[in-house]
């Protein structure tokens, strides 16, 4: 697991990106005055400039023609006509449309059909994935730059991992702990399983709490025993408080294996006041171990930052059952995956409910029928109208579904889905659904330069992906297939 790079900037909030957006806008305004004077490059920074016929930024306005300046694999500027360093490598694409790379939020592309059932929060999809053994050509040809692999199976089969579809070995793994895959068998014992799993996770939390309380009591008793004079007493009390704080932090570290970036700081802290109480340090609070397979659920219940789950629903009734299970655990963050692949689904019954919650919903690009009817129902469009944010994911990992993905999406647009929402559904919303909204999904300053070049409009069924760029480098070209 150590080969996976930890992703630190994942936790950048949305607020900051908004600030950035404003900053970009200010830059653009100021630069438009200066015109196209070419600046001198500074130092060793690597610049790539794309001069495209059209740039779809997704988050902001479209530029036609448009220029994207990429600095060290990240977008630094985007606009109509920009200045850029003289040393920059220029990619000319006057007839092409550039848009953010597509994101596949739930895939098993190129993996075996091995399935496991039950609760496996300790399992990670990354353990199945060997990127160098998978031919990503189909995904690249379809315009996907990011793919989120999920563990297969019913129940809680494990944690999903996000990969890039190309790039160097170091940059391949995007995010190891993307979300917890939850796919209960709703028509069978699924609800009971999920309820029991959450209950067990809650018990694990209580176990740690109880152990801490006991430890604190012990600590107090000790302090009482060792008190000699008034001065000492005051000091030791202070120590005790600090100690508590430390242990709280260290326990959270134990609870969340992801947060080890902060390890260094924490370990240094007890050392500062360690000389005073070398005695006490020996029996520092050690929280009881949480069963690893419930760890992701524990994180979810405690609302750890970055903890999220994606719950698969087979029919409308499953949402009610899910709500019933989650009721005691206030607002566990979750993304819903509606399995509307079969043409007849009854999700129409809960569209309004989802809309009032402004849920993030993952759907397949299927034009459904209403239950027991011959009436067409555009579920994605209905969800958008109701107030949801939607993510559209390919029907399957077959080549035909990947290559035909944009065409299927287009058919939804033709049937009433708002065009901009359709583009968002495969880029920005998808990125936000898997918690990578700060790094992917749109062409903005400081976002990764994972881009797709098309020889036409993305929703034109005849348009083909001509080039794919990952971190500022062209990794795939249509004519070199």
């Amino acid at each position: 697991m150590s080969i996976f790079q930890k992703n630190k900037s994942r936790r950048i909030g949305l607020g900051r990106s908004v600030v950035r957006r404003i900053a970009v806008a200010i830059c653009l305004v100021s630069l438009s005055v200066t015109g196209t004077t070419v600046l001198a490059a500074d130092g060793e920074d690597e610049y790539v400039v794309i001069k495209a016929g059209r740039v779809i930024t997704v988050s902001g306005e479209e530029f036609s023609p448009g220029t994207i300046v990429i600095e060290n694999g990240k977008v630094s500027l985007v606009g109509g006509d920009l200045e850029y360093p003289a040393s920059a490598k220029i990619i000319r694409a006057p007839k092409e449309t550039v848009m953010p790379g597509l994101i596949h939020p739930q895939s098993r592309y190129g993996l075996s059909h091995y399935k496991r059932t039950g609760i496996h929060g300790d399992m990670n999809a990354a353990s199945d994935v060997y990127p160098e053994l998978i031919d990503f050509a189909n995904l690249l040809e379809a315009g996907f730059t990011t793919v989120c692999y999920v563990p297969a199976g019913a129940g809680i089969p494990g944690v999903a991992t996000t990969f890039r579809t190309a790039g160097t070995e170091d940059s391949r793994v995007f995010d190891e702990f993307t979300y917890l895959q939850v796919a209960p068998k709703w028509r069978g014992v699924g609800k009971k399983m999920l309820r029991d799993a959450l209950k067990k996770a809650k018990e694990e939390i209580d176990k740690v709490e109880k152990a801490r309380e006991e430890w604190e009591e012990k600590q107090k008793e000790k302090e009482k025993n060792t008190e000699d004079d008034a001065e000492d007493e005051v000091e030791s009390e202070e120590d005790g408080d600090e100690n508590d704080a430390d242990t709280r932090r260290s326990s959270s570290k134990q609870v969340n294996p992801k947060s080890d970036d902060e390890d260094g700081e924490e370990e240094s802290e007890p050392a500062k006041n360690g000389d005073k109480k070398s005695e006490e340090e020996s029996d520092e609070f050690k929280p009881p171990k949480i069963e690893p397979k419930y760890q992701p659920l524990v994180d979810l219940i405690q609302k750890k930052e970055g903890a999220r789950m994606m719950v698969s629903l087979g029919s409308a009734a499953d949402l009610l059952h899910l709500d019933d299970v989650l009721k005691p655990y206030e607002e566990i963050q979750h993304v819903l995956k509606l399995n509307n692949r079969r043409t007849r689904t009854d999700f129409n019954y809960v569209v309004e409910k989802l809309g009032t919650r402004e849920s993030m919903v993952v759907v397949a690009p299927t034009l459904n029928y209403l239950p027991q009817s011959t009436n067409r129902y555009n579920l994605p469009a209905a969800l958008v109208d109701a107030g949801c944010r939607i993510v559209v994911t390919p029907n399957s990992d077959r080549r035909s579904d990947l290559i035909g993905f944009r065409e299927q999406l287009m058919s939804l647009v033709r049937a009433g889905l708002v065009r901009d929402e359709a583009i968002k559904a495969i880029t920005l919303n998808a990125a936000e659904a898997i918690g990578l909204g700060a790094r992917l999904g749109s062409i903005e300053k400081d976002k990764d330069a994972d881009l797709v070049f098309l020889d036409g409009d993305p929703l034109d069924p005849l348009a083909k992906v001509s080039r794919v760029m990952i971190l500022g480098e062209i990794v795939w070209k249509a004519d070199e297939k």
Binding site: G190, H321, T374
Partner: protein, 490 residues
């Protein structure tokens, strides 16, 4: 199968809360109350008499319940339980009360009389008031049922494909077509597997009503060995109960008395023990006269509550069944050819339900097929529960008894008559609101209300909305006959 009906617990509280509204309705009350406490007292007395007079009127058929001694805490245990209930209620109130008022229909209470143009007020899924004029709380949802008939939701004592088998609360598809069709048939409560549940279309709250309904036994004439073994088991359990009783007596005299061995008492034996202690009810399928007599004999010999499923030849042995105190689940349209070689009445008859009912056998009616299906049995599936009861009427059963057999009597068989089966204050707000008498072949369910929520609306659901819209019996059939768009009309 007589049970005390403990439904007043919630009801009486509710009524006490709501009673002041009646004071203010009295034209004199407000006047006197403003005067002095003394006059107010007189006023109360006066009001009491007004109330009792009103009680004899048709709008207050439920006074009999009110006159019952209110089940105020008799012991500490009860009061603590009540406190708990109150606490829970307070919590619920905080969440937001949900009111639904069904206004102006002809209300068939089943256990009481029929009232015309009364209003039923329900709160959080329970009936809280039935009166001609009800002060509606703010934000109450109203349902204008004038011109329609309000029945308690029908109870199906068996079903398939509506609730999911082992754990209905966990995996039932509450948006299924079957559920909508069953609601369109006026059914709101069904037994499925060994639990009873509501057809809560669009909600999973309060779905399960009761678990472990019956202990199903097999007492098949074709396998005498099995019969013998079952009798032996009963014998053993009965012996154990006797030993236990004598042990209890002995213990009083001799503290070292030996407890009867109970290591063997598990699995099937444990269930039989429950049965003999009358904690559960047995259900045995028996159709021929000899089978019915055999199971009746078994029930009387060992003393347990029994429901006979089928009972096709029940009409030939109805007196014996009545004496044994068994109940029966029958399908009036079921056909079994009579055998002329037998020197006794045999085979099926449409009069079966009537004859058994006349002899005092409690009956519940269920169609031959208990699913929503058309597999060669068109019109004889669960969709036509009311029609099945109507066929019993054709065989001589009274309308009233036929209605009871698919409402309160069916609920009593399932042991859930304290919650469903009739329209009474304190019971669940489950109604089948129909555009005609429920046993009539033209009648459609206009609305089905389950737990105080409208679960089916004929005008909104496209199953039947084109047939006699708005209950207009003379409306011509729709001209866009086929192909028509089923499903949601949005």
């Amino acid at each position: 199968m007589t049970r005390i009906e403990p439904f007043q617990c919630v009801a009486s509280n509710e009524r006490e809360r709501l009673r002041p509204s009646r004071f203010f309705r009295c034209p004199f009350a407000g006047y006197y109350l403003r005067r002095s406490i003394g006059i107010a007292c007189i006023c109360l007395v006066f009001l009491g008499s007004v109330n009792s007079v009103a009680g004899s009127g048709p709008s207050r058929g439920l006074d009999a319940d009110e006159k019952k001694p209110s089940p105020v805490a008799k012991s500490d245990k009860e009061s603590s339980e009540k406190k708990k209930d109150e606490d829970e209620k307070k919590k619920k109130e905080k969440e937001e009360d949900r009111y639904l008022a069904v206004i102006g229909g002809t209300v068939h209470t089943v256990t009481g009389s029929v009232h015309h143009g009364v209003t039923i007020l329900t709160k959080n899924g329970k009936i809280v008031e039935i009166a001609e004029k009800v002060a509606l709380p703010e934000g109450a949802e109203t349902l204008d049922a004038s011109g329609n008939h309000v029945y308690p939701g029908l109870v199906a004592v068996d079903s398939g494909g509506l609730l999911s088998g082992s754990s209905p609360g966990d995996s039932t598809n509450v948006y299924s077509l079957q559920m909508a069709i069953a609601l369109a048939g006026g059914i709101t409560t069904v037994a499925s597997g060994n639990s009873a549940g509501k057809l809560t279309f669009g909600s999973v709250d309060d779905l399960v009503v009761k678990r472990d309904l019956f202990h199903k036994l097999s007492y098949d004439a074709a396998s005498p060995k099995e019969r013998y073994e079952l009798r032996q088991k009963f014998e053993k359990v009965r012996q154990y109960i006797r030993e236990l009783e004598s042990y209890d007596e002995e213990k009083k005299l001799d503290p070292d008395a030996e407890e009867p061995d109970k290591e063997w008492l598990d699995g099937e034996y444990k269930k039989l023990l429950k049965l003999l202690r009358r904690e559960v009810t047995a259900s045995i399928a028996a159709n021929s006269a000899s089978e019915i007599l055999a199971v009746c004999e078994l029930a009387t010999r060992y003393g347990f509550d029994l429901i006979v499923r089928g009972a096709v030849e029940g009409w030939t042995v109805a007196p014996q069944m009545a004496r044994a105190g068994v109940s029966a689940i029958v399908s009036p349209r079921r056909r079994v050819r009579s055998d002329d070689r037998l020197n006794r009445p045999n085979g099926s008859t449409i009069e079966n339900a009537r004859i058994m009912h006349d002899h005092g056998v409690p009956i519940a009616i269920i169609p031959a097929n208990t699913s929503i299906t058309l597999w060669g049995l068109a019109g004889r599936d669960l969709l036509h529960l009311n029609m099945e009861a109507a066929f019993a009427v054709r065989g001589g059963l009274s309308d009233d008894a036929a209605l009871r057999s698919i409402t309160i009597d069916a609920a009593r068989l399932l042991g859930i008559d304290h919650r469903v089966g009739s329209i009474e204050v304190g019971k669940d707000a489950d109604f089948a609101i129909t555009d005609g008498p429920i046993l009539h072949y033209m009648t459609h369910t206009r609305w089905a209300v389950v737990n105080g929520r409208i679960a089916y609306d004929k005008q909104k659901d496209t199953l039947y909305n084109h047939i006699r819209p708005n209950g207009d019996m003379d409306a011509p059939p729709p001209d866009d006959y086929w192909p028509r768009s089923l499903g949601d009309s949005q």
